[in-house]
Symmetry: C2
């Protein structure tokens, strides 16, 4: 058996019986198996005895330890950047093959030199968090920093880098929290970390810069439009959803066209938008965490409603089937929950399309209980909006909550959608 004079993190070429194979050696706990991360991003295990030849093409150096200072940007357009964590602020741990968050914002800057070439960047880094761990407290922190940047700094707009898992929830939250918006707010991300050949980080961030320099005072998610590494879409913060675990074009516009197509520094608007303006952005982060999101499924007992009533939840969004249905045996429980003061909303489990309470008898019966049918609003957006509406103490009572849920604050309803 050939001796392997290489260690975890090294980029190597192994000669096998019929072909050779290149990749980064990962730490392995099986002494007979060598783990290799291929350039495609996939990990494979190779039996040690099948390796006939080893060539180290590049030794491993932990570059993160080197110092880096953020370059100054005199004369360039000024933007705000809020770094919050996620894959776009992570790198591959060459020893384990897993993705590890960057811990210092200087590291982040080092990975994205182009951003600093195009702009003079004011960075804020409130926390480094994977987005599955984020909640309304994180949304409030981000909104507060964004509002300060938008009103007090001489900047063109704000970019927020964020993990992908719950990015669409944060985008919806910022769409409601930042009222009277005056400049662009771009949320961007990457599905694959920057040190991987297939990373989407650089294009997404570059397109986010273009969006922030454009004439659109809205909250948008900026990301790959397709699996190709060519251009991005700007998706409305209230009308987008992560629709794939791994693809670079994971975020899709739902029940709405994207706001814009972004190709390099060219921003082509695809639909009406709110233009830049001289107003003062307003922060409105009132939010109640006593709100739940429940997906209905066949045979589900309505007891789950009693549970949330007992736990003193103020509101619930139910992802109903079809045009907005649950099984008949839910009707008494819905009535009871609403009578207790809980605000009950319906959104579509199908994701695409618009609810209607008028077409089937079930819909009419459910509507009679007081359930609020949220038209074409995404369930995720509805959940965030309900927390926001019920967080406002001055919007009191069921009728007021209904009125606010049906008001179109941030294009969460697409009134043009007909099919």
């Amino acid at each position: 058996m050939v001796e392997i004079k290489a260690s975890a993190g090294d980029y190597v070429r192994f000669g096998l019986a019929r072909k050779s194979i290149e990749g980064v050696i990962l730490e392995s706990h099986e002494k007979d198996i060598v783990l290799l991360k291929l350039n495609s991003g996939y990990n494979i295990g190779i039996l040690r005895e099948n390796i006939l030849d080893v060539k180290v093409l590049r030794k491993f150096h932990d570059e993160a330890r080197k110092d880096f200072s953020i370059p100054s940007g005199k004369g360039k357009p000024k933007i705000g950047l809020i770094v919050t964590g996620g894959t776009i602020a992570s790198k591959l741990d060459a020893r384990t093959g897993a993705v590890k968050p960057l811990t210092r914002v200087e590291e982040f800057a080092k990975f994205y030199p182009k951003l600093f070439e195009r702009c003079d960047v004011i960075i804020e880094n409130p926390f480094m968090e994977l987005s599955e761990n984020m909640n309304s407290l994180h949304w409030k922190k981000i909104a507060k920093i964004a509002e300060k940047m938008l009103n007090d700094y001489q900047i063109e707009g704000v970019i927020i880098t964020h993990g992908t898992d719950t990015l669409h929830y944060t985008a919806a939250a910022l769409s409601f929290f930042l009222r009277n918006l005056n400049k662009p707010v771009a949320l961007t991300f990457s599905q694959r970390s920057i040190d991987r050949a297939s990373s989407d980080a650089e294009l997404n961030l570059d397109c986010a810069v273009s969006f922030v320099l454009s004439d659109c005072a809205e909250v948008a998610i900026i990301g790959h439009a397709s699996m190709n590494d060519d251009f991005c879409y700007a998706l409305r913060g209230t009308k987008a959803r992560k629709m794939h675990t791994s693809r670079r074009d994971a975020f899709k516009s739902i029940n709405s066209e994207p706001i814009a197509k972004i190709n390099g520094d060219k921003v082509e608007f695809l639909r009406q938008r709110r233009p830049r303006n001289k107003e003062k952005a307003e922060l409105d982060t009132d939010f109640s965490d006593k709100v739940a999101l429940v997906k209905f499924y066949p045979g589900q007992k309505p007891d789950i409603l009693d549970y949330y009533v007992k736990e003193r939840y103020k509101g619930i969004v139910i992802e109903m089937t079809g045009f907005g249905h649950v099984s008949e045996d839910w009707i008494p429980a819905l009535k009871k929950a609403i009578k207790s003061g809980m605000v009950v909303c319906a959104s579509a489990q199908t994701i695409y399309g618009r609810l209607s309470s008028k077409i089937y008898s079930t819909g009419r019966e459910i509507e009679k209980t007081g359930v609020i049918f949220l038209e074409d609003m995404l369930a995720e957006t509805a959940f965030v909006k309900l927390g926001w509406v019920l967080g406002h103490r001055n919007w009191k009572g069921y009728e007021k909550a209904k009125e606010k849920m049906m008001e179109n604050f941030a294009d969460e309803f697409n009134e043009l959608l007909t099919d």
Copy 2:
């Protein structure tokens, strides 16, 4: 003001100031407004005072009251038909504008003459139910009748007509309940009732017949491939989902190609399939209703797990974010639930793509608790499968449940999917 000599159900033309408009008059409770169902299917309200002229083009007759006998079909291929309710077995109530279920199977036959021209049909009608009301008892009834038809009758295969709301859950259930399948089983539906010009019922049913006459012993959903009324797809029962509230191509193949494209009587297979065979189909309807489906959302308290443990649920499928994540504070609750004996599975909230516990630290931590990562399996399919697996008393213990959940019974895993 002109007198309107027409009543609910009549097809009329109204002359307005600038144009005329045709449709069916609906019952209206506002005396100043006339409700009209347009040919497009939309309802509009017209102020009585704006109607300048009225022409009754067709008086309303309730045709459902006429008698109809199911034609005999000597010499034609024989098929089984299980009518269960839903829009495909409904008609427009001309007086209210709502869709109303047919109550007698003879009515169903009358609406679909082409089916009876092509086939000799053995009809069973275990119940007439809107699919939002269906649960595992309905699935069992359908499976039992299908099994009897497949084994005891000289038929080519079975068509099941069904409401759309939960059709994909039923399709998954039948995929697991009918083991060792010998002939085609086609579930079909309509999004718009047959008496509407835009109905998709006839094409769907015609393509279902073609599928049942083809060489594929699988459970499939047959429906419009696009918004055009031209051809259908056959979607694998475990790999399909209703993805739009109203579109005729509402059902989409998820993480898999459709099994076949069906154009009239031409069935073109798009991927590998189980061929027709001489085996005996087996009925395996063991099912536990003590199984839940929960969608994780930001800020959600892990207390919901304690609730299901307390309610003695045997299993739960959690729709996690990204590659299979929940927030860190769920880890202790996951451990506790699994320790109590509850089987906890993860599926993807993104719908598309495959889970992976290896890429991020959160995934590795969650996997360590014992959570079963269900790869590319749809959450709806996972919920049905978990109820089926835990319904088998002979499959005892966590390890056995995991083994069965990861076994590919009905192509619920797509092993070819790489992106």
